[in-house]
Symmetry: C2
């Protein structure tokens, strides 16, 4: 169902070549939303769909995360998945179950933050579902996007010899989690750990990499570099070598300090883009304002090695992201 009234109006869309026109024919207020995913005449589109839970106690804690942060991260997760395909987000759907005792203020701040991020990316909140929660705040975000037909950048396109790149810096989100775990009562300043509390999805970067045909495979770093690179390698049937000293480590806190390598390798929820590009492609060190770092290359054998500065490697184990469950 797509109940209720009101609607997140899209604005501020600053797009180049592939802007779908009036994509939401019917938003909230009917059994389904009706989307018209149609680029300019003569160009066919594929539709992208992603869904992501945001569950209290698993993905966030109300004592650690503000309502604004929860709303922002909820939608950012979905937008980041669209970015990782090189797509353009079109519409979002929010299924939201709330406990009876939750304040209206919390819900309002959550919704304003989520809708603010949606507007920034020209995404219409076009429906969803609401329910009473049997316990805790439960959200499921669905983002629908579009990409020119056959042009989605998959995880499966990496080939031996391709270079491996990552946007931004890694480990910043996990560093915030480590801090909060170590000192549960101290409130972190969101500005000092922005990549955790208000991650900016790399939509523009993903679109440019797809448009220019630069990326052979792509994923977002939601589970952590080691795990997400393993996904690319598995889907592509290849291996990889990553140089430890090349991995860009986040600077967090005040005074700002570089995070440990372990956090940059295994920490999740940075929502950067991890992609591969054929050796011959020139990748600019900054695209859409985001630094791009070459961290290694794809190999034929199916294992992933972390190389030290002497060129000696240890196998890099995929260590999945831990959630907030106590």
């Amino acid at each position: 169902m797509a109940p209720g009234r009101g609607r997140g109006h899209a604005s501020g869309r600053a797009r180049a070549t592939f802007s779908p026109t009036t994509p939401v024919v019917k938003g909230i207020g009917d059994d389904c939303a009706v989307l018209r995913i149609a680029p300019r005449p003569g160009r066919a589109a594929d539709t992208l769909v992603t869904t992501d839970f945001t569950l209290e106690g698993i993905h966030f804690r109300r004592d650690w995360h503000s309502a604004e942060s929860v709303g922002h991260r909820c939608l950012a997760r979905g937008l980041s998945d669209i970015a990782a395909m090189g797509g353009e987000p079109v519409a979002a759907f929010l299924s939201l179950a709330l406990p009876r005792d939750l304040t209206q203020s919390w819900v309002g701040r959550f919704a304003r933050s989520l809708i603010g991020l949606a507007e920034k990316y020209g995404v219409t909140l076009a429906g969803g579902d609401t329910a009473e929660s049997p316990g805790g705040i439960l959200a499921d975000i669905i983002v629908v996007g579009s990409v020119p037909r056959g042009k989605a950048v998959l995880r499966s396109g990496a080939r031996p010899g391709d270079r491996i790149y990552v946007s931004g810096e890694l480990g910043g989100s996990a560093a915030a989690v480590a801090q909060m775990r170590a000192r549960p009562r101290r409130k972190l300043k969101p500005g000092e750990y922005a990549r955790h509390f208000f991650p900016e999805p790399r939509v523009e970067l993903g679109r440019i990499l797809r448009e220019k045909g630069l990326a052979s495979a792509m994923i977002d770093t939601s589970d952590g570099l080691s795990t997400d690179l393993a996904h690319i390698c598995e889907e592509s049937g290849v291996g990889a070598e990553v140089s430890a000293e090349l991995v860009p480590r986040a600077c967090v806190g005040k005074p700002a300090r570089e995070v440990e390598l372990e956090l940059a390798l295994h920490g999740g929820e940075d929502y950067e883009l991890l992609f591969t590009a054929p050796r011959g492609k020139r990748i600019s060190p900054r695209i859409a304002g985001v630094p791009i770092t070459m961290i290694g290359h794809i190999t034929r054998h199916r294992k992933i090695f972390l190389m030290n500065r002497n060129g000696v490697g240890d196998e890099l184990e995929a260590r999945g992201w831990e959630h907030f469950r106590r």
Copy 2:
């Protein structure tokens, strides 16, 4: 994210004129699913999206509903929304959060039932999300469908003079709930209350009504006749008169008995189709094997009246559907 592996294979699709071809380009195993919602060349499509929660303690109870029933009802809710637009379901996405102590057997039976229903309607399970639940089984089903461009049957198309029709029978699902509430320890036989435990979504009926241009407005009876008719009237800016004696009441239990009028008027989750059609349109008493009953007509004034056999009416209050919350 669209994690994991495996995929619900579509089969048994018995379609007439608007079959999208190979709609799921990329299913589970990438950041997003990639759908190609394209009918035959020369025909443009709109995309339909619906999301529905199925939460333990709110939408079902584990002591009252089998895993098979929960899986079936979870997807049926979404398919019914697609049916209510006259659309064809293409792909489903399941976000599923499970408590640690849930048995593998429960999950297997839930999934097999859901996938079985998906296959029956030619729908591919193309992704979703999985998480640990902080409490209870939490599912969110997303169904994506398609409809020829501009042809979705909305709630807003009812006009004064239109006849009001409903498919099947009403109140059967609410009768099961009433029985379970009255005698919580007695297990109901699903076969005697099929509309509650294994509702068949009216996809074929909805498609035919749309193809033949018969329905001016349509909704599924998920909240109950009084509430769902109010939705149509509100969106269309009209009112209605319903004849109490014409409302088709479900027969449930053994020996089968007709439910009370109250249940047929206000009981939810029957997932029948409630639609309006211009007076001049001939509506067959049975379409796609489902009985169709004329129950009243649309009026200019904005209220809804329930008329007795003497033609005297009382205002029909919209009494929403109660969930299982104790």
